[in-house]
């Protein structure tokens, strides 16, 4: 038996085992949490640090299905839609601007000469440092938060798109010209469609930063939103709200990423295979 055992380095788990092994750390974390929570609550039933799952459930039910006494809104859903709206608009603007700048600087050397140094400098500015300026210039409303997200991720998207555009084989651009294509025809028919799946990839990669800027902006100046809520209830040590909210934000981030990857595969079936 000992002889027939494979070396550890050669042992590959089968499909079922892969899934089970993947779930194991989650199960362990939940068990550790439950045991610790029970232990603390046994000593002090009013302990706020590690609320039981039942307490979290009650709090979330209240926030999701009972109108707020102050505003009459369902706070959980209001927070979710506000945050998604800000993130969506910010990312949409960043996507458009990044695509436009990246495409032109990637495909046209004269634009690269004019904008690349600026783009490099802008991408080095820490976006959060600009937040006070935004508050002063555009006020504390929605615009400042959306602008922060847009400013924060546009340079990344623009530079990624620029690089992807430059990766398109020069042969294709020459070929298009020998077929009679003009500059605009090459940009719109040859470059743009091949860049679209890369744009979605770039957006997926920049969403992590997008969430960061969203929550930071909401924490500093807002009246609703997922980030606003967790920083607000922090004052009351309401872990029964903060923990489910963090889980919800994580789930939303996962969902958006998953949907974008599905969209990419659906819209551009030639893209994945053409890579090889």
């Amino acid at each position: 038996m000992g002889k027939s055992m494979k070396k550890l380095i050669n042992y590959k788990p089968n499909r079922t085992n892969t899934i089970l092994l993947g779930l194991l750390p989650f199960a362990l974390l939940i068990i550790v949490y439950m045991v610790s929570s029970d232990a603390r609550l046994a000593i002090n039933p009013n302990d706020k640090l590690l609320p039981a799952f039942s307490q979290m459930g009650e709090s979330m039910y209240r926030m999701a299905f009972e109108p707020s006494k102050r505003s009459g809104e369902l706070l959980f859903w209001q927070d979710t839609t506000s945050s998604l709206m800000r993130l969506g608009l910010g990312v949409l603007i960043a996507g458009f601007v990044g695509l436009f700048v990246g495409l032109l600087t990637g495909a046209l050397p004269i634009f690269a000469a004019g904008f690349s140094p600026l783009l490099t400098v802008v991408s080095l500015v820490p976006p959060l440092a600009l937040l006070p300026i935004l508050f002063i210039v555009v006020g504390l409303g929605e615009v400042s938060k959306i602008t922060l997200i847009a400013i924060g991720i546009t340079p990344f998207i623009a530079r990624d798109i620029q690089r992807r555009t430059q990766e398109i084989p020069a042969e294709q651009l020459v070929k298009a010209q020998t077929l009679g294509a003009s500059t605009s025809q090459i940009l719109i028919r040859v470059v743009l469609p091949q860049i679209m799946p890369k744009l979605i990839d770039a957006i997926r990669l920049s969403l992590g930063a997008g969430w960061l800027f969203l929550i930071a902006a909401e924490a500093i100046a807002s009246t609703d939103g997922l980030g606003y809520r967790i920083f607000l209830v922090r004052r009351y040590l309401s872990m029964d709200v903060i923990l489910p909210y963090v889980a919800w934000i994580t789930f939303l981030a996962f969902l958006v990423d998953f949907l974008l990857s599905k969209l990419n595969r659906r819209l551009f079936p030639w893209s994945l295979e053409a890579k090889s």
Binding site: E171, V174, K175, Q177, T178, L179, G180, R189, Q194, A274
Partner: protein
């Protein structure tokens, strides 16, 4: 239509040279080409045959001498009078076979996007389908390039080029990556299209045999002078300019000997041309 009996010079190279800094690639290339010729360019790697092709294409320019098309300096950018098929990356990966050829028709139109609509689109679709049937891709109209074999991709690239009715067709090692059997089919196809569309063809190849029976004229690029201490001090020129079909075997072997040793020695390194 066509100038069938034309014996006018189409391309004229007057003492052409090309250097990059200290490195001389080409020197003293003097040659005339008439409309309708099918010229094969052979030579060792790095001997400047692809550079010469790129000069005709308009993406490289001579550092000495003049390259004339119809007596005027050749345009310094690619245009629809000079079609090209590269060894790879010649087709658009995001379009199906049919869309690739329709797009080529659309690019002929001077509009911002080159999209075709209505009757124009219908006519282009019909013409593209006919063209694709001519090159043997009638069964694969709706496939994407990544679903095609190497030979089929090159057929598509050729169809795209030919549908734009170029006067000159440039082939840069178009069959270098194909199996021998498929290569033979491609030769038949290119010869057919050459006759049918009265093209003037320049084809760069590593395969001397290809050069000896395809087309009308063979150019061998090689260095006339050699300085062993400074291998790039002298450039290559056209050392043999032979009509195809009249060459004796000893000459074939002599040329083969001259270009082969270098050729095989440099094969593992990716071509720098």
């Amino acid at each position: 239509m066509s100038k069938t009996a034309s014996k006018e010079t189409m391309i004229q190279a007057k003492n052409i040279g090309k250097r990059y800094g200290q490195d001389v690639i080409l020197e003293r290339v003097n040659v005339n080409v008439e409309e309708g010729e099918f010229i094969t360019l052979v030579g060792a790697s790095g001997c400047g045959k692809s550079t010469f092709l790129k000069m005709i294409l308009g993406i490289e320019s001579a550092t000495e001498g003049e390259l004339l098309l119809d007596g005027k300096p050749i345009p310094n950018e690619p245009g629809s009078d000079r079609g090209i098929v590269f060894q790879q990356y010649s087709v658009f990966p995001h379009m199906t076979v049919l869309e690739n050829v329709i797009a080529a028709k659309g690019f002929q139109k001077s509009s911002i996007t080159g999209y075709l609509f209505g009757k124009e689109k219908k006519a282009a679709k019909q013409e593209a389908t006919d063209m694709l049937e001519q090159v043997g891709l009638g069964h694969a109209l709706h496939r994407y390039p990544h679903e095609l074999s190497g030979g089929m991709k090159q057929r598509l690239a050729i169809a795209q080029a030919v549908i734009c009715k170029p006067r000159i067709l440039l082939l840069d090692e178009p069959f270098g990556a194909l199996d021998p059997g498929i290569r033979a089919d491609m030769h038949t196809l290119v010869l057919d299209l050459w006759r049918k569309h009265k093209l003037t063809i320049f084809m760069v190849t590593h395969d001397l045999k290809e050069g000896f029976y395809l087309g009308t004229r063979l150019w061998v690029f090689d260095k006339l002078r050699h300085d062993p201490h400074s291998p790039n001090a002298y450039g290559a020129s056209i050392t043999y300019d032979l009509p195809v079909g009249h060459t004796a075997t000893p000459l074939f072997e002599e040329i083969d000997q001259r270009i082969r040793p270098l050729n095989t020695a440099e094969q593992p390194i990716s071509s720098m041309e």
